[in-house]
Each structure stands twice: as C-alpha cells, then as structure tokens.
Symmetry: C2
C-alpha cells in the first residue's frame, strides 16, 4: 500500500530531496499535494511528473500561469487558503512541511487540524508556536515526526526506549564555516563566506543559520517541545565532521547515537517511512575512511545566537516567536548585504529587550507578534 504524501515547499532543498526519495520508492509513496512559494517553473515540472491531486503556488498570478502550463489534471490553488483546502481535500496520509522560516507555522497548524501526521522540516513551526503545535497535535492525535537530521537522530535513538529513562539530549553541531575563526575574523565575513557550509548541502536560510549557530539555538527549542524535555537537559556539542547526528543519554549513563554520512535523504526517508526503515542505495558510513571524530565545546561569545535562543525559550510565551521571525527577516537582510554578520544577533537581542513576552493562544496571536517584529525591523 502506498503512503499518500502532501509536500509543502516542494521546490526547496528538502522538497527536492523528498521527491528524490519518492522517485526511489515509487511503490511506497504517492504525491497527492505539492506546494511551493515562488518557483513556478520547477513546480510546473514537478506537477507534470508527479501528477498530484492538488498543487499550490504562492500568488494568484503564478496560479493562473500554472493553470495554462500544466498538462496533468491537477487542481491548482494559491496561497495559504490553498494549502488549507489541500490539507482537507488532498487525501494525504502524511504532510511534509518543508517550507522555509516562520511562514511554515500556519500550514503546520492546518495540517494538524485536518488530522494529518506531520513530518516537520520547518523547525520554526515548533520554535515560534511550540505550545500551540504540540497541544493541537495532542488534541487531534497526530504524530509529529522530525525531519531535521539532529531531531531525526534523537527520534531514532528513542525508539524502543522508555521516556522516563531519558537523562539528556546531546545535539551535535558542525560549528559552521566560522568555527575556527576568532570573533574579530568573523566580523569581517560576508554572505559568500557564510554560505560555504563545510558538510551539509542546504538552502540559503539554514546555511546562514548554521554560520550564526542560530540553527542550533532553534534546534534546542525544537527539541525541547518535540521531546518534552527541559532546556537544561539539552546539551550542544560541536562535532565538525557531522557524522554523529545527535545522541541521547539514559539515566543508566548509556548513550545511544545515530550516525551516518551527512546526507539529508536519510532523515527525510526515515520521516516518510516511519515506523519502518526502507532499503536504499545511499552510501554507507565507513568509520575507517573517516578515521577521526572530534568534539568541542560551544562558544556563545563567538556565536551569541545560541545564547539568545536559550534566553528566548527560558522567557517563553511569545519570545521565541519574536526570535524566529526577527531571525528570518535579519537573515534575509544579511543575504541582501543590508546588514553585517553580527548585525543579525545584535538586532535580535535589541528586539528581545523591547518585547514584553505574553501568553498566546492562537495562530492569530502569533501572527500579531510577527507583524510587530516586521514593523520594528524596517529595511
């Protein structure tokens, strides 16, 4: 029996790799929904190849373009209303949310409300709206399956184990392209340097987040929600080779780790095939070829985003939403060379000091917070 898949963010890095996995297992998966933001030409190709029931593009203009350029009998919709409709009408068993940044939160909520299991590549959903997402998931009895390599690793390590045996999570971090530089060297770094990730091939947003280590900060918050664990039971270890994707320590001091070559296809496939594992022809890890794995402490002075993320989660309520949205906008500004590398963390810190965190109840409350962030950061 094939699993029916709704893929949100199909033209991005995770989206494209998800489709590669589906191509590798045509008997296991069937794409019934495809959604993308702006890349209309690639989406058109994907629609013609996978013939989903519904496709969604960001704007009405692109939607009209698609309607005349797609040969498949796919229904073409647009915007978040389109995604919402597809969550109900798309017949999916599993929704992969691979949208980029804080815009992923709404569709995550919509998917859960439609009773769909969600494979979450959009960490911002949980960072901004963890309370909302997790309580919705509980209410609608759906599974949230992580796609991030670190959270997938932890999720795998926890299989067959009892929750009460869990002592701490150990997230590994590559350290990004600036790991070995001093703070004064990092100050000089621009977009080109920040986009050179040593191990992983990823989208631009997450590659910059990796350079600032905000990525790891967001992952700590994501892990806290996903695995219902206190922030102080989540450690981060810098592991430049990115072979150990993360670890779990149990209360008998036994540590279980998940390892592999840095290839997002493995955690993506696991999220698609869970609770099963599917055979594939990806490259096996050979530790005698790798020869050495190293581990270092994190440096929150060089990478203040890590500290800011923890602070935001400790304050809680709307503060992580401020952090996430501000980071989205500031990374965009950095990519456009409007601000410097440390401008990202400095502006986030300023904004966090301005914001009085308050309890939220709905997606609308969070959208209001995001609007406030947008108005506070004018580029």
């Amino acid at each position: 029996m094939t699993k029916k898949i709704a893929l949100l963010g199909s033209t991005g890095s995770i989206g494209s790799q998800t489709l590669d996995i589906v191509r590798m297992h045509p008997d296991k998966f069937d794409i019934t929904v495809l959604a993308a933001g702006k890349n209309v030409d690639l989406l058109a190709k994907q629609i013609n190849e996978f013939k989903p029931k519904i496709a969604i593009i960001g704007s009405k203009h692109d939607c009209d373009y698609l309607k005349t350029n797609v040969t498949a009998s796919t229904r073409v919709l647009y915007g978040f209303e389109g995604i919402k409709e597809a969550m109900y009408d798309g017949e999916a068993d599993l929704v992969i949310n691979a949208l980029v940044g804080s815009r992923g939160l709404g569709p995550t909520c919509q998917a859960i409300e439609a009773g769909k299991d969600v494979a979450l590549a959009n960490k911002e959903s949980l960072v901004s709206g963890g309370k909302l997402v997790m309580s919705l998931a509980e209410k609608h009895k759906v599974n949230i399956i992580p796609v991030d390599s670190e959270h997938s690793a932890i999720f795998q390590c926890l299989q067959g184990e009892k929750r009460q045996s869990l002592k701490r999570l150990i997230l590994t971090a590559s350290g990004g392209p600036f790991r070995q530089m001093t703070k004064s060297q990092i100050i000089e770094m621009g977009v080109k340097e920040a986009l050179k990730h040593p191990n992983w091939s990823m989208g631009n947003k997450i590659t910059i987040d990796s350079a600032t280590m905000m990525n790891k900060g967001l992952e700590i918050i994501e892990a806290a929600w996903l695995f219902k664990i206190d922030l102080d039971k989540i450690d981060v270890v810098v592991h430049p080779q990115s072979i150990i994707h993360s670890m779990v320590e149990f209360h008998d001091t036994s540590v279980i780790a998940q390892l592999g070559l840095p290839d997002m296809k493995v955690p993506i496939q696991y999220a698609l095939s869970y609770p099963h594992r599917l055979q594939n022809n990806l490259m096996s890890l050979s530790l005698t070829d790798i020869t050495t794995l190293t581990f270092e402490k994190t440096d929150e002075d060089k990478f203040p985003c890590l500290r800011l993320a923890k602070e935001a989660q400790r304050i809680g309520k709307t503060m992580p939403c401020v952090l996430t949205k501000a980071n989205d906008l500031l990374v965009e500004a950095f990519l456009k060379e409007k601000i410097s590398f440390y401008g990202i963390s400095e502006s986030i810190e300023m904004l966090m000091q301005k914001h009085h965190s308050y309890e939220y109840d709905s997606l609308d409350d969070l959208l209001e917070v995001e609007a406030w962030v947008e108005s506070a950061l004018c580029f």
Copy 2:
C-alpha cells in the same frame, strides 16, 4: 518486586561487579544463588553478605570448608551437579553466567533447560555450542541477554527496531596493548605486557584474549549466534578509545551506536534490569573531555586469532569448540610462561588443521571434542 538472581562466577571480575550493581539497587535485586570455582574465602564473604538460598563451589573439599565457615543458612553444594541442582531449586528469575572460558557451556545449558533467562557474560558458551544453546533457548522460550559490552551495545541499538531492517553489525575493538607495535615487536612480548589493557579492567583470561584479539574473534562468533546474522555481515573496527561500544547499520544506511565510558557496570546493569534501565550514579560520558574518537582497520596478519576465529565459524560444526577450548588451554599456558605470545595462535591453527569438524547434537558431544583438544595439547 525484586528480581531473583543466580550468579555463576561470583568471585571473578564480572561477578564482583554484578554484586556491586546489586548493592546499588537492594530493592531491585535479590541474590538467591552464588557459584564460584576456587576462591572459597571470597565466596564465604559473599554468602555471609547476600545470604543466598544456595551456594556452589568447585570441589567437595572447599564445600566442606564452606559448610563450617558460613554463618548464613545457605545450602552449600559443589561442582557442576551442584550448579544443576541450583538451577532448579534456586528460585532465580535470571541466571548471570560469568564463568570463565569453555567451562561455562554446561551451566548455560542447565540454566536454559531449567527455563531461566540467561544473562551471558561467558561468550565461550555461544562460541563453542551456539547451535545447541540457541536451539535450547528457543525450545525453552528463554531470553539470552548479552553482558559483553559490545553485544550489550548491539542489543541496545536493536531495541525498537525490526530484524529485517538490519544490514550489518559493527563491533568495535580497542586493539589491545599491542595495537601500535609491529609483528616483530609483538613477538618479544610476555605476560606482563599482555596483561596491560589500555581501557578495560578485566580478568586475566579475557585480557590476554584482548591482546591476541581472539576476544574479538570470539565476539564475532557470539554475535553471529546471538543476533542470527551471517559472519560476512559483521565488521570489526579498531577504536582505541573504547567509547563507542559497538554499532548497527540498518538497510537505510542509518547507523545506531551505543557509547559510554569503558565501565562493565553499565552493560552488567542493563542485563540485570532489561527490559528496563535503572538510574545509577556512574560517571556520564563527556565527549568534549574525550575530544577525539579514532577508527582503524584490523590487521589479521599481526593478530592471526581474528582470522582463525572467522575460519572456525565458517567451517562450523565442532570447529569453534576446538578453537575455544584450545584457546582456553593455550592462554593458561601463556600465563604460566610455557608458550610464547604467537604460540597461542600457532597451536590453535595446527589443531584446527588436525581436526575434522563434525556435526554435534549434545553437550556430551562437545565435551568429547574438548577432551580431544586437551589430549592433543599437553603441557
């Protein structure tokens, strides 16, 4: 509710550490049987402390001594007949077999026939009589729980996973004290040097097995039986730090590993508490303190025992029993400085060439093979 434990080999390294674990969790475990070979004074102390229902010592002479020197109301028996009786009358829920060498096979069979789950620290049981032990375990529906750190690691990594997803096992090996020497340097090495294990504190027999790497050879055979997997799906990687205790690769290329400081108490406790994990106050692993994990290929020219063990298992039938028993006797001879370091592997190889492997059905068949080995090796 306490778990009732029969501990065979209570005065050895694994035995003593097992009792340490029991002391740490007096509400969880109750020692009902203690058995030792020769160390009558330590056994007497253990009897007075743990007050088992039954205690067994090797000889009648020591048994008589114990009867007059033990204050507890323990029934004292001797020899393998004594162990057999205790398997039925000792009320144990779990038998820990921590006997040293090939003499462990009989008691393993007796425990299984008495319907007891067996925590197996005696790898020779499975190496010599894998077919017998596994078929008995299946017949009597008992669990065999590994105590060896490597097999415990694999056992832990397989929890919650499906057998058909398993691609290969990756056993790690410290490489022993002679890892960095050339063959001509190793030739010069004596008992003192061979007993210096870099990471693990263990008994003499297993420490020499670690120096010859026969230990890893025996572990390959043990793993093949325990996890019902082909020899060619078991890899060995030299990992001098002994932090990753072993790994499993699944057919999606995902690798799950178990890590920790080299402390036998962790796998012993896991075997006792399985399927649960018990909290303890042992030291947690800090990878940022360890800083580096390295991996090397094995060298079967320098360590021929590794090759011989694989050959014995490929030939199968009675050959692994010959390998095990010969190794037992030859290590003893080496410890008494009657033969040289490479004398161990040379004699095993000669004996394997002499032996025509045949199918066996019972423990008696194997005892006959062992008798043949003994007669062939006269020191």
